[in-house]
């Protein structure tokens, strides 16, 4: 055991990577699924152990291949990255049982092994972005995860999936390019790619080089904003979510954008924020303005959307607005709200997409009009949907309330009380779009199609029930969500240059 423990950071990424390669060789969907299941089951133990080490002993630095940083690639686990690693692994293991039947029903048998291969590659990339302490290595993992994602989306049954994947490919590549240009600027300035090292050296740059710093900041922020679908750079997201295979949507909604958000926080708070006084730049204000636009505009679009996958996708754009709002506020409470919403939103949105996936599995449609009376035919599925939907609204007793509470306190601490009614008003819009679905599901008479539906098998049901229960549980016990997010944001905010 002692031989393994020091190498946990590497294993976190290597295990799914090897899994991906093996999956490609297995060729049989069932075998590949079993392998993926095994890999998914191991990952939370690794990230749990990492989180434990960080909580008890502070940040971990791991020199990849024995090459000491800043020359070699450093894997660096601090509270923030451990928190996000934990999120990805836990979501991965909770939702994987759903994949078996859902994928079998939506993907050709001959392609299923490739599907799991791509999934594990995507997982590798996301975990890699989170764990690496090297700016360029992050770019590599960004590309790994993105390329795998394009393939996964293109595997959707709907022919429009191809177009959606293609659009995402173009836009995602632009985003990655902007990011790497920004990293290039940083390298020019500092001669280093190690994030901690870059931050230290940036603090020492000459004042006449500030323009380059600002340019690098702009490129990286916009590049990452594309990946995290910050309004108005979100347009790739709804189609990608709507036409991807149901289970892929669940995974992407819960993790992919969240990792991009992690990257944004990392750059704003651990690199640029440490080196220069960001308060003097309008970055925070721009992010807040865009977040507000997302919270309202995307929510309104969701209200009118009749394809529920697209509706939930637009709701994601709005919810990402909450997260970036907390990032823009850049104070203890606000950032805590943003970080805790990363987890809370991941769980509730995964539950929602899972429920929707189960509905698609049963009735083959995700249109609002086809769901009449389905609450009576698929009671547990819709119960999960309803609970997670309440979380989306921010109903007290759900985790969404916790996020919004911190955001509101953060806004008040910043002195911008006007944001408080804005947060509440946008919650009311969420109330409308969630309410539409619940009304259709519970208060209408079942149609001929829905009358034949029933709750899906346990392997599909359990993941969504667990996530819905988590939405409620973390509305009361916040030690593992807001507690850790609070500590992480405290460290980040204290590190900011004034």
């Amino acid at each position: 055991m002692n031989a393994v423990l020091p190498h946990l950071p590497a294993l976190q990424v290597v295990v799914p990577l090897i899994g991906a390669i093996l999956a490609a060789f297995l060729r049989r969907g069932n075998f590949a699924f079993t392998l993926t299941l095994a890999v998914s089951a191991i990952l939370p133990f690794i990230s749990g152990a990492l989180l434990w080490q960080v909580l008890t002993g502070g940040p971990i630095s791991y020199a990849m291949g024995g090459w000491a940083p800043p020359i070699g690639i450093e894997y660096r686990v601090d509270l923030l990255s451990a928190f996000v690693l934990m999120l990805i692994s836990v979501v991965g293991v909770v939702i994987i049982p759903f994949a078996h039947r859902s994928v079998a029903s939506e993907i050709d048998a001959s392609k299923q092994a490739w599907f799991y291969c791509m999934y594990l590659l995507c997982l590798t990339g996301l975990l890699g972005i989170t764990i690496t302490g090297d700016a360029f290595n992050a770019f590599v993992f960004l590309e790994v995860s993105s390329l795998a994602t394009y393939v996964l989306i293109a595997m959707g049954r709907d022919r429009r999936a191809l177009l959606a994947a293609f659009q995402y490919l173009i836009i995602g590549t632009i985003g990655a390019t902007l990011y790497v240009i920004g990293v290039g600027f940083l390298y020019l300035l500092t001669g280093s790619l190690n994030m901690v090292d870059v931050a230290q050296r940036l603090a020492a740059v000459e004042p006449d080089q500030m323009r380059t710093v600002i340019t690098a900041l702009a490129f990286i922020t916009v590049g990452v904003s594309l990946k995290l679908a910050l309004f108005p750079l979100h347009v790739w997201l709804p189609n990608a979510y709507a036409y991807a295979p149901s289970w892929v949507t669940v995974f992407l909604a819960a993790t992919a954008t969240k990792v991009a958000i992690y990257l944004l926080v990392r750059y704003l708070f651990s690199i640029f924020g440490v080196a220069v006084n960001l308060q003097a730049l309008p970055v925070g204000e721009i992010i807040i303005a865009l977040s507000l636009a997302a919270m309202f505009i995307a929510s309104f679009v969701a209200v009118f959307e009749t394809n529920l996958k697209r509706m939930l996708a637009y709701s994601s754009v709005a919810q990402i607005g909450y997260i970036t709002l907390g990032i823009g506020l850049a104070n203890q409470a606000g950032l805590t709200g943003g970080l805790v919403h990363i987890v809370n939103h991941a769980f509730m949105k995964a539950a929602l997409f899972l429920a929707l996936g189960a509905i698609v599995y049963r009735i083959g449609s995700a249109r609002l009009g086809d769901l009449a009376g389905i609450g009576r035919k698929m009671p547990l599925t819709m119960a999960a949907f309803a609970v997670a939907g309440l979380g989306l609204i921010g109903t007290p007793g759900t985790s969404g309330f916790i996020s919004k509470w911190f955001l509101a306190i953060g806004a008040l601490d910043r002195g911008w009380w006007i944001l408080v009614p804005a947060i509440m008003a946008s919650s009311m819009i969420a109330f409308v779009y969630v309410g539409r679905v619940l009304e259709m599901a519970y208060l209408r008479e079942p149609s001929a199609e829905t009358a034949r539906a029933s709750d899906p098998p346990l392997s599909m049901l359990l993941p969504m029930l667990v996530l819905a229960a988590a939405t409620v549980y973390f509305g009361f016990d916040t030690e593992w969500t807001a507690g850790i997010a609070g500590k992480a944001s405290q460290a980040l905010v204290q590190g900011l240059a004034r």
Binding site: F166, Q167, I170, I171, I174, G175, L178, R211, I214, T215, L217, A218, F219, T221, V222, S225, L226, P232, L233, V235, W236, P238, N239, L281, P282, V283, I286, I297, F300, V301, V303, F304, E305, T306, Y314, T395, P396, G397, I402, W405, F406, A408, I409, L412, D413, W417, V420, P421, M424, S427, M428, F431, G435, E439, Y442, L443, F476, T478, A482
Partner: protein, 562 residues
Amino acid sequence: MNDISPGLVLILGALLVPLLHGRLRQAYMLALPLLAFWQVLGLPEGEFGQIHFLDMTLVTLRVDRLSLIFGYIFLIAAFLGIIYALHVDDTLQHVAALVYAGSAVGAVFAGDLVTLFLYWEGTAIASVFLIWASRTPSSYFAGMRYLIIQVGSGVLLLAGTLLHYHATGSIAFEHMGVGSPASWLIFLAFGIKCAFPLLHNWLQDSYPEATVTGTVILSAFTTKLAVYALARGFAGTEILVPIGAAMTAFPIFYAVIENDLRRVLAYSLNNQLGFMVVGIGIGTELSLNGTAAHAFCHILYKALLFMSMGAVLFRVGTIKGSELGGLYKSMPWTTGFCIVGAASISAFPLFSGFISKALIITAAMNEGYFWTWLILLFASAGVFHHSGIKIPYFAFFAHDSGKRCAEAPGNMLVAMGITASLCVLIGVWPKPLYDLLPYAVDFKPYTTEHVVTQLQLLMYSALAFTVLMRTGLYPPELRSTNLDTDWFYRRAGYALAVRFADGAQTFWEAVDRLVRHAVSKIVFRLHTYHGPGGILARTWPTGIMAFWTTVMLAAYLVLSYL
């Protein structure tokens, strides 16, 4: 056990209801409020159930005399409501009713604003299902409007709580009075739920749309919870006196001309709330006692009235005054219970309303609120007129509609019977209720003066109704009649009242039209841009997305260099 709110007993208990069937389910549902009641009886005063939540300490169970009396009556009302609804085979309604009642009980025992807010929203969300359970298009829209307003009230409460917490560092729910922005927000939140004038429309809009049994439950909790919250947080707030006085007076005009008898009761509900709000505004021990006592009695007799009208609706299928009449032959028991309720709401001596309303009116007189006192007297007469006489008269007597139906089901009769007995019992023997009030009571309701004044008031009101009926003046057509001058004033008064109500109606309809027009315009605009195919909702070509990326990049750079 002392750390669990009695409200949670009902809420968590409700979750098991869908699993049970038949007799077992009925027995279980009846046992829940009894269990909670038994728990409340054993509660010592103090604060329990502290939960550390974020950085705050929630007090989920605060027991004092004010919360206790509301806790008792809420649980009694829940019990009666469940008996009344026993024949219903609709799981949704049963669960909603239990969660709703549980939330109201939980809110009353909440010791801090966050817990209060949690239960506050609980009542909003649970109760709307009682309206939707009618499963008609109109109930759906009424429910939606109701829900938006109720949730909106909760959102205001939350906003106020946040500001309060941020300003004072405390979330304890104690007396606050108006002043800071936080307290105004909270006041407004309470006011919406209490159906303050101009914030009241949700009540008359939604309650008559609920199911037969749903309305009975609805009438008990939401508004009285608001009364409790006002009494806790804003006792002695001067502005409540005129607000309450207005609440007692203006619904009368509407109630007189309304044909839907359940809606008449909704208006009179509003009017009764006015008495309680005045009591809170005066803020003396006597008036606060009056508010608590009146809430207690009011929940009973209002439920009784809604029960009897519900029974009529259940058996006849309509509750329009113009289509009913002569039902006393078919439903003698219901008629009797309705009359008990009518006598109670009209504050006949020996009925419950008399011993509670007197506290408030006396307090108003003692503290020198002459005009308020006068309005309260007028309102008392008005109540008798529309709730005391109009309701039983049009439903059970008047001209015989020829409708013949069965008597109400047994469980309804039992519920009405118990409620009616309580109304009489409290009226005859008020001491047990007085002993429960928040402050020590030194008040004798049955003095000659009180009784005579009240009887005079009632007699004149009855006379007015009789004459109006006899002369065909009721409803509004006017015909010239020669009566003595005293009567002339009264008739002119009524004509004026009818005019006023008509005018107000027209005005509100105009406002309503304007609002609807504006709303539909806004929705149209929103739809144009956000609806499917709108610029913000459609899929942009890849080039446009790339263009926006460039714009964003340029914006960051330009703004950063500025």
